[in-house]
């Protein structure tokens, strides 16, 4: 599984990228592969508060809906509008297709390094 080195990972398969004074959150290659072809993404609104461990979005495949959990506590600064029309971007480029940009981050989950996440995935199987 592809796990870029500059990201941190959660055990519910989200990734986090520090980007200036805000963070980007998306779902991992493993997650998109397990979910299959995504057909829709339900994103929060700009200005919404997100909280560590709480659901902030969900993604739909044809036969299932899966919750996405926030690895940080903060305020949604931006959502990736492109995904609303083209959810398949997540399947094609999971690490480019971020879901939300969070600012005013007050808490961050104790995330895994790429190596730890790789090991975590191996143990899962």
């Amino acid at each position: 599984m592809n796990c870029p080195n500059d990201l941190r990972y959660t055990n519910s398969h989200e990734w986090v990228r520090q980007d200036g004074d805000s963070v980007l959150v998306g779902i991992t290659d493993f997650a998109q592969d397990a979910l299959g072809d995504l057909v829709f993404v339900n994103l929060p609104e700009v200005g919404d508060e997100v909280e560590v461990g709480e659901v902030f979005a969900d993604v739909e495949s044809v036969k299932a809906v899966s919750d996405i959990y926030s690895p940080v506590t903060g305020v949604v600064k931006e959502i990736n509008e492109e995904l609303i029309e083209n959810p398949e971007k997540i399947n094609v480029d999971p690490y480019g297709a971020w879901l939300i940009r969070v600012e005013k981050v007050t808490e961050t989950e104790d995330c895994m390094t790429p190596d730890q996440y790789r090991e975590f995935l191996e143990n899962q199987e």
Binding site: V39, F40, E60, K63, A64, V65
Partner: protein
């Protein structure tokens, strides 16, 4: 005793033996002894098909079938073209389940896709679902579509059908939504009151075209007011009237719903009817129930499937915004065949004749001594005040085989005429009314 079990007693015994059992009772061994039914129930013995028919015919005979109907109030007697029944009684349609297996359900799926298209055309909206239970539940489901985190109040005009108001209220009681009725003034929604009630927590406002009294209100202004308050505008419409009246789409409604019964369904003592629901593209993913979409199979052949299923209860479970599963598919098919048989010109003609006949009835009744209660323009229903007790007029009509209008008070009758009523029929009815008024006044 009647039975639709295929196996004979001998075959049943043989099958039992093959599964290693001796008696039927052994199949039910997990049921606690304490609660097993020991055959002492009060259900009568079974009877033959012929006896069933006799009993049911007798029951049907205890109802009065009116050959002249001048009552609407949510259920309308229209002419149903012969082809409608012929198509909708085809067993492939009648006995099919929900089209989950698309490859063997293309006929039903395509018929729903065509229905969705016709409903969009009729309402002037972007998208339609495959139907819900009836007009009242459609209104309640539409209200639920509007709810947002900070908008948890639904407004409904008092001029709507009382059952619709009641059903919306019950649904709001269910999910804890605040519910308020906007008062009426002279037969239409009190616009001043509406303005006052449109606070920032209002999620949606529902109004009917034509309203319960048959009246056409100022839908443009109401739409503007609701949108200014950042709420959603829901219009409930009579589908026949939409062939000639301005559509919810033209009025800027966010959701259009209605009772589809006039589109080829029998009166049937109140059901099954059809709830149609259409919305703007922006609200597409909030629509409840089934939706059919067009796609292709591997060979590039056009194919239809149930789609956007991520909205629905079987996938989203407790996070689904509606629990709708079975809908009124065969009624939706009925509506499609009706609209296709009538065509554009037939639908318009039916609507025009409804209005013509209702207006002629109104003028004639006025000559007989009844007065129109509200003066606004109406479609095919209108409310009159009567110089004598409403019951006296209605009883006299009933005796002659006429179902008169619906009494709304001691001296108020809500009348309805459709394309089905003839001039002669109206003249005869008015004669009876005239006589009652002269005798008792």
């Amino acid at each position: 005793m009647g039975s639709y079990v295929v196996s004979t007693k001998e075959e049943q015994q043989a099958m039992l033996k093959e599964v290693g059992l001796e008696s039927m009772d052994q199949l039910f061994s997990e049921i606690p002894e304490k609660v097993k039914l020991n055959k002492q129930w009060k259900l009568p013995e079974g009877i033959s098909e012929m006896e069933v028919m006799n009993i049911m015919e007798e029951l049907a005979g205890e109802n009065k079938v009116f050959s002249h109907i001048f009552r609407g109030a949510g259920a309308y007697a229209h002419y149903i073209p012969a082809i409608v029944k012929s198509v909708t009684s085809k067993e492939e349609f009648v006995t099919a389940y929900t089209p989950y297996q698309a490859e063997v359900s293309q006929g039903i799926l395509q018929s729903i896709f065509e229905y969705q298209t016709m409903i969009c055309e009729l309402t002037g909206m972007d998208v339609s679902n495959a139907s819900v239970y009836d007009g009242a539940t459609a209104a309640a489901e539409a209200a639920a579509m509007c709810l947002q985190r900070k908008k948890n109040k639904i407004l409904v005009s008092r001029t709507c059908h009382p059952d619709v108001i009641e059903v919306m209220k019950t649904y709001c009681y269910g999910n804890g939504t605040e519910f308020q009725v906007v008062p009426e003034k002279d037969g239409h929604t009190d616009l001043e009151a509406l303005k006052q009630l449109l606070t920032s927590d209002v999620a949606g406002f529902y109004v009917q075209q034509p309203n319960y009294y048959g009246i056409l209100e100022d839908y443009e202004t109401m739409g503007r007011l609701v949108h200014e308050a950042k709420g959603n505008y829901i219009m409930g419409c009579n589908p026949i009237s939409l062939a000639v009246l301005k559509t919810p789409g033209e009025y800027g409604a966010d959701i259009a719903v209605g009772e589809g019964q006039p589109l080829g369904m029998e009166l049937g003592f109140g059901g099954p009817y059809l709830g149609f629901m259409a919305a703007t593209k922006e609200m597409m993913r909030k629509l409840p129930g089934r939706i059919v979409g067009e796609t292709q199979d591997k060979e590039g052949e056009r194919a239809f499937v149930l789609t956007l299923q991520g909205r629905e209860q079987h996938i989203r479970r407790e996070k689904a915004s509606s629990n709708v599963c079975s809908n009124q598919a065969l009624c939706a098919l009925t509506a499609s065949v009706y609209m296709a048989a009538m065509g554009k010109s037939g639908m318009q003609e039916a609507a025009r004749q409804c209005a013509s006949k209702a207006h002629y009835l109104q003028k004639s009744l006025e000559e007989a001594g009844l007065t129109l209660k509200y003066s606004q323009s109406f479609f095919h229903e209108f409310l009159t005040e009567t110089p004598v007790a409403a019951a006296q007029i209605l009883d006299a009509l009933e005796e002659k085989g006429y179902l008169g209008g619906l009494p709304l008070g001691d001296r108020e009758i809500l009348w309805c005429a459709t394309e089905k009523n003839t001039k002669q029929e109206i003249d005869d009815l008015v004669e009876i009314v005239k006589e009652v008024c002269q005798t008792w006044n």
